[in-house]
Symmetry: C2
Subunit: 110 residues, 2 copies
């Protein structure tokens, strides 16, 4: 597993990107998808994810729909129109961020 401290601040753009590519997803699904996609390199905790989803919903970036599967509840989230724009912006920032980090990616002299 990668050093987790590097991912601080990246959770929001990652979630937005997933929802930009998946129409709708529920919390637990997101944690599983991220773990699967990154082959375990990134494991997002529920203690980080759920408060984030609630905040984004409160900000009008996401909407939520409850659904029952058997006796168990799922809360599906999807991007609002505002969220679509937020996602695009976040993606640009993420790409700039990656490009900036690449500037320091040198083998070193010695």
């Amino acid at each position: 597993m990668n050093k987790q401290s590097l991912y601080k601040g990246c959770l929001e753009p990652i979630v937005l990107q997933l929802l930009g590519n998946h129409d709708r997803m529920y919390g637990y699904e997101i944690t599983v998808k991220v773990k699967e996609l990154t082959k375990g390199a990134l494991q997002i905790t529920e203690g980080a994810l759920y408060p984030l989803l609630h905040r984004l919903e409160g900000e009008g970036v996401l909407t939520a729909e409850m659904e029952h599967v058997g006796n168990r509840m799922r809360k599906y989230y999807r991007l609002t129109p505002v969220g679509q724009a937020t996602r695009k912006n976040a993606l640009n920032e993420l790409n700039d961020f990656i490009a900036t980090l690449q500037l320091f990616n040198k083998p070193a002299i010695s």
Copy 2:
């Protein structure tokens, strides 16, 4: 300027990389170099940098040498042998991190 929250946790590997490529540097020089290298995209604050340098020195990753330039003091830092290894490791983590982030770099369906 990029969204700063993304860079949380990246300061240490960035500083280690700079010192891996520059033999020795002093604090203020690092702030200027980062700003210059990233064309202003990343501006590290002194409130973040100096405590980090002190910690890395305390951990044996860096050594410091004081020097006078006129009446003004400079504190030069360089990597110790331990620091060289720490840098290499941090670079690997940074590359893994970037590769993982790239997994989410998609244009989105809509």
